[in-house]
Structures are given as C-alpha cells and as structure tokens.
C-alpha cells in the first residue's frame, strides 16, 4: 500500500492555521487601533482658543519642541481619571501639554478646567470634531507625542495613568529629546 503524500495536505493546512490562531492570542486588545499618522506631520488647523475665543490657534503655535497633545472632553469619564497625572506632568516636567477639547460644550469645558485646574498651555475648541478626524481620533482620551518639528511620533489611546507615563510615554519623550538635542 503506497502512501499518498497529498493526503497530508489537509493536515498541513490545519497546522498552519493553528499556528496563526495561537499567535493571535498574543495580539493586542481588539478595541485599540494603531494610528495611521505616526511619522506624519501634525495636521494643519485653525481653531479658537478655549480661554480666549476671539483668538485662533494654528499649527505654528505648537511647534518648537517635544510636546504632548491631549484630546479630552467633559463627557469622557477616563479624562477625569487621567487628569491628576496630566497635572503632575505639566508641573513636574518641562513638557508642554496642549489640549484639544473634543465635541464639547465651551462653558462646561471652562468650568471643568477651573474646578480641576488646567494642565494645558492652551486648549483649542474642536466642537465639530474636525481636527479629531484629521488626527484619526475615535474616542477620548487620546494623547499624541510630537517631536520638535511637529511630527507625530506616538499615540496613546485611553487614560494616561502613572504607569502609562512611566512605562510608555516617558521613554518616547526622552528618546525624542535626545534626537532633537543631538
């Protein structure tokens, strides 16, 4: 009885399949999307400043050094959770923090910042969510790390907790600072 090797094909296909499925377990949370804007310049915008609505802010106001851009809103519970850490970062480091107030109500936003203190150099009003869309944002909060030339180098989805800062964002910031100094 000769052994027909083609009968091994189904088994071979199955083994390949299982390998992929097993590797699938190591994958990230299916809710998290990788950003399509990594290594691309921060998009152009012209939006009103939250505290000074007669003034418009543009991309020029952001450039110059390594910075964080945080997308936040008063309707977002996780933004409340990350607020203390953002405050701490703005006080204890020299990293500028810019805020994008996403699909929010101006009065509520101002009240929020007054009550909880303002970690941002300035916040802009993105009440139609157009800048958020240009950034590929799909929820709040999200935080972008920009290098000295205003190019997006990293995006974190979800609240910035002390662990996230220590383990994820700080290393990126330090690396970018090194690169811009050197």
């Amino acid at each position: 009885m000769t052994f027909n090797k083609s009968l091994l094909i189904p088994l071979g296909v199955f083994v390949l399949l299982v390998v992929f499925l097993a590797l699938g377990f190591r994958l990230q949370n299916p809710h998290l999307l990788p950003s399509a804007l990594i290594d691309k310049p921060f998009p152009e915008f012209e939006l009103k400043d939250l505290h000074q609505p007669e003034m418009s802010r543009t991309l020029a106001d952001l450039s110059g050094e390594v910075s964080l851009v945080n997308v936040w809103a008063t309707w977002c519970p996780n933004c409340l959770i990350e607020h203390p850490e953002l405050l701490r970062i703005s006080r204890e480091t020299d990293l500028p923090l810019y805020g994008v107030n996403y699909n929010d109500d101006n009065e509520k936003a101002l009240g929020w910042l007054t009550r909880l203190e303002d970690p941002y150099v300035f916040s802009i009003i993105d009440d139609k969510g157009t800048l958020a869309i240009d950034l590929g944002v799909y929820g709040a909060p999200e935080t972008f790390v920009l290098d000295a030339r205003g190019v997006i180098r990293f995006r974190h989805v979800g609240p910035v907790t002390p662990e996230v800062w220590q383990e994820t964002l700080l290393p990126v910031v330090e690396l970018l600072k090194e690169m811009s100094d050197g």
Binding site: N29, P30, H31, L33, P34, S35, A36, L37, W75, C76, P77, N78, I81, N103, K128, G129, T130, A132, I133, D134, L135, G136, V137, Y138, G139, G158, P159
Partner: protein
C-alpha cells in the same frame, strides 16, 4: 482588574446600534453614493459595524463628513482615500489591492483554477481498457444485452 474596569468605562459610553440621520441630498444618485460609502466604511469604535449601522459619536461625525464631501463634489475614491489617510486600512471594509492583500484577492481565484484542474483530471480520465479477445467480447455483449432492463 483595573485595566478591565477602564476598558469597560471606555466602551460603555458609546451606543453602537442602528443610527438614522436625516441628511438631504440634491439627487438620487448622490444619495445612493452616500449609502454605498457609509456601508463600506467601518466604524472605528464599534465591534464590526459599518458607519451606516452605528450610533457612536465618531460614526456620526464621519457620516457628516462623508455627506459634506459629497456635496463639495469629491469622488467616491477621494472620500475613501481621505478616510484611509486618517484611520488606515481598518476603516475600509473593501481591502485595498496591494502587496499585503495579494493572497486575499487572488487566493479564491487560484483555488477556483486548481478546482477546475482537479475536475478536468478526474472527470476526463479514461478508464483502463482491458485486453479481451473477440470470443469473450461476443459473450460479454450477449450477457449485457440479456440483463439490460
């Protein structure tokens, strides 16, 4: 545990169910293009729903953008490109044809060709003809005729 809780908080604030906007269009053709585009674009926040079927905030905003771009005269391809630039391959339910998706798009075609070849080999195979002398052939013919009903 904390991470699970945070994930829950993040996800529970959206409502990924059927959404109905009342966007007016100047003509039927543009309406159909709109319907086609929002069916083909995926909601970035939900678990496998298109923009047409989702009530999430980002889905509402993106539908508004699609509507605006159609009215501004953009082509379907340009609108899809716009979305791709911001959200990547994830947002397109029809995968772009490229190096990474060759297997995906050509695979079924290849399988069909292989199936066709298999069929031709099996269905066209000639049965082996046994050697048989004329006397036996005559007996065989007679037998077959007798039993043929």
């Amino acid at each position: 545990m904390a991470r699970l809780l945070l994930a829950l908080i993040f996800s529970v604030s959206v409502n990924c169910l059927a959404a109905i906007d009342a966007y007016p269009f100047p003509d039927e053709d543009m309406q159909q293009r709109y319907d086609g585009l929002i069916a083909e674009l995926r909601c970035p926040q939900c678990l496998n729903t298109n923009l047409a079927g989702s009530d999430a905030m980002i889905a509402q905003d993106l539908r508004r953008e699609v509507h605006r771009m159609l009215l501004d005269g953009y082509e379907d391809e340009e609108i899809l490109e716009f979305m791709y630039e911001r959200y990547g391959d994830f947002i397109l339910y029809r995968p772009r044809l490229g190096f990474g998706t060759l297997v995906l798009w050509l695979g079924p075609l290849l399988l069909l060709v292989v199936a066709g070849l298999i069929w031709f080999r099996l269905a066209r195979a000639k049965p082996e003809l046994l050697e048989i002398n004329t006397e036996d052939q005559a007996r065989l013919d007679k037998l077959l005729k007798d039993t043929d009903t």
